[in-house]
Symmetry: C2
Subunit: 445 residues, 2 copies
């Protein structure tokens, strides 16, 4: 398994791991009981590793006289998340559990949304002045650590007005000669974030620069706190989960699959399914317009699922690729023209390949089974041309839909595979019958 | 934008950022030129932030006499990644650029696959013995930092045989009284990984424990190195991208959307589209079996896209939710029975809702447009029942397919939305016509 213990191997250690494994499946009562059974140090580690939602649940469940010590265990950014999980009325009660300076920090953090850099930020970071010596800086850091420091990956160098002027990694500080000054060794090439930066963008910033922590500064360059990369790991997982669920055609569940209640899950799914179902009814309307053609040439009906699904599949592919490229920052709104050219070409190529396969299928079946009567050749041509048209159209519209959604301020990930497939189904039918009405005129129609 | 510079704001700083933005769009020649134009310190930061593939490209492009210093800039785990990007013949040449101890470290790391914990591991970590005092430990760390230390988030405590016995965060070390021993303050509750742990599992371990680094140990508990969380951010992004692309029905691109060559992209996409197209041909075969029914009741054909797409959509939803829950470790193989019960119930509920909508649609159109003749009621019942059956079947098969794929050792994410939709289309047609042949017997059929 993942966790090896050399010394101090004991039952309770395994109990904490077991609890972590089964946590999501336990009832609130069982969670509380198992949690209170853990020895304090392990319970603390376990508590700090929980999502804010579960921390809140535990805080309200544990005996009132223990609540203060658990609340104070949380670093300010996590405490702010917990407070933001609850309704307005109960926030005061939670904030009252904190000491005065921390309460002020937490309230300042709550001004930011939970999914912004400011909401992920920790105001307790290691800081020194530029003109102290390396030895003095290390002593000073040891003093800060004794008080309230959470993280020491980088030491931030602020001027007298708390404006960020440089950064030095602890490794560099350690490695430097004792009597050089911090200014000598600090780096002034700073990667910083603003408090209102979206967490998705922040995730990309971490990924691009491979940093352990990024400082948050205001407009005037005053340092406000740091966001550490461990908080970003959760964020990146969450954002990817949301996108994947939307691409699959559900509302984001916002909870683990097995933990969400069945009625709630059905509700989140059926809304989208019903919307798609109502849109898909347009296919019935479209088909009804061609009822006369179908009754004259039933062979046309037989190929409908094949043709419209080829458009749906190519559309799902294109939209998924563009959605992910947008989420990673690889493709921006302004790239729409580059994308449309790539997709037009790809669509024609892929449509060509599938069209040839479709054409050959009709010819082959005719040769083997004599399936399509004397007009097999025009049928084959109709199928081949329709597939080329539908695939090209599916690819183009699938790739442009995320741009359209983002342009009007919606989440591009809402261009889900089922949504694109539905859109393309309707137009696919129109394309198919329009081509058929030309190619089959005078023969079958 | 994201990067504020207080002091030392200069053109070259902006140049590095610009280069990062446009890198993926540049030709190899333009990349090299822009890179060589950067001042050395910035070029170093930039180089270290590149993916291994691009680092390799640069290493081969830059003048031979500069190659050694760039290669030696890389920490051992990154150097191993770069060496593994190239073909066997060229590896020796790259390894020869390293100093002897580093070369040995890199070769040891290369024994692991790039996507295992051992491949992400850095063998240079901060270490002390348990029985030294805090003051001695800090001095010793400063000596290590001067030599070869990369990271100091945690200080690992090894015994004489280099077996890991404890860990102390730098913050704790700093905060402790100078004359306490490391043993007094170290934690023996260790979260560790094995060298062959898959990177996806490693990502979950980081997310669950909120750690900055996780030590890698062998079977006997000997410490081999550490994996730091900044390497995991990239891993998590990559894994999510792969899953999203597979869910969308493409092979994973393994390159940014705008950077991959058009023929290569078309190739990765058309293979899946063609496979789906060939499978979807089964719908034509299925439909052909019902040709007689269709020619007697053309109204049946009109609802085909609506009915089969409702199965495809519910199937895509279910498979996507299960794929993501599996990737996050929320759902394991052994949970299949829990999932099947949830999905059976969800499928029936959602099918019921859509069935009622479908039924009402037929009745409504009959009342308003007199669309479906005197047998409108049996048509409405046929549509309603078929939708219930197809949605339930779609939901069940969509949720079970990822289990099946994982069971036989394939990636559950290959149960893409288009794949599930195709599978459900064929069975949907059979379900629809089977129900119709019962309900419409004696009236339309």
């Amino acid at each position: 398994m993942t966790s090896l213990r050399r010394e101090a191997e004991n039952d309770s250690g395994l109990a904490a791991d077991d609890l972590r494994e089964t946590w999501r499946l336990l009832s609130p009562e069982d969670r509380l009981e198992a949690f209170l059974d853990l020895p304090r140090p392990e319970a603390e580690d376990f508590f700090l590793g929980l999502p804010a939602r579960d921390q809140l649940e535990l805080l309200f469940a544990i005996p009132a006289d223990q609540r203060r010590s658990w609340m104070r265990l949380l670093p300010p950014d996590d405490a702010a998340d917990v407070v933001q999980q609850t309704v307005e009325d109960e926030r005061e009660a939670l904030l009252a559990l904190l000491d005065e300076p921390t309460r002020r920090e937490v309230m300042a953090l709550m001004a930011y949304a939970e999914d912004e850099a400011g909401g992920l930020m920790n105001p307790r970071y290691a800081r020194v002045r530029a003109d102290v010596s390396v030895d003095e800086a290390i002593s000073y850091l040891r003093r800060q650590a004794r008080e309230h420091l959470e993280n020491v990956y980088y030491v931030y160098v602020n001027d007298a007005e708390q404006r960020l002027v440089g950064v030095v990694s602890l490794r560099e500080l350690f490695a430097a000669g004792a009597d050089r000054t911090v200014r000598d060794i600090m780096s002034t090439e700073l990667v910083t974030a603003r408090g209102d930066m979206d967490q998705e963008e922040l995730g990309r910033l971490f990924a691009a620069h491979d940093l352990q922590a990024i400082p948050v500064v205001d407009d005037q360059g005053h340092m406000q706190g740091i966001v550490t990369v461990d908080d970003i790991v959760d964020v990146i997982q969450e954002e990817a989960t949301e996108d994947i669920q939307k691409i699959g055609g559900t509302e984001a569940l916002d909870a683990p699959y097995l933990a969400i209640s069945l009625p709630k899950m059905v509700q989140k799914r059926v809304i989208w399914l019903a919307a798609l179902f109502l849109s898909e009814m347009l296919t019935t309307t479209a088909m009804a317009r061609f009822e006369a053609e179908i009754s004259r040439a039933v062979v046309l009906a037989i190929f409908i699922p094949l043709i419209i699904s080829s458009g749906g599949n190519s559309g799902s592919q294109a939209s998924t690729l563009v959605i992910r490229a947008m989420a990673l920052g690889e493709v921006k709104l302004a790239d729409w023209w580059r994308v449309i050219r790539r997709e037009l070409f790809s669509g024609l190529m892929m449509g060509g390949v599938l069209g040839v396969i479709g054409f050959s299928r009709v010819i082959l079946w005719h040769v083997i089974f004599h399936s399509y009567g004397s007009h097999y050749l025009v049928v084959a041509i109709t199928i081949g041309l329709s597939v080329i048209g539908v695939v090209t159209w599916g690819t183009l519209s699938g790739s442009m839909l995320p741009f359209l959604l983002r342009r009007v301020g919606l989440d591009p990930a809402s261009a889900s595979a089922p949504f694109v497939a539905t859109l393309v189904d309707v137009t696919g039918i129109v394309i198919y019958f329009s081509i058929a009405s030309i190619t089959l005129r005078g023969t079958l129609l």
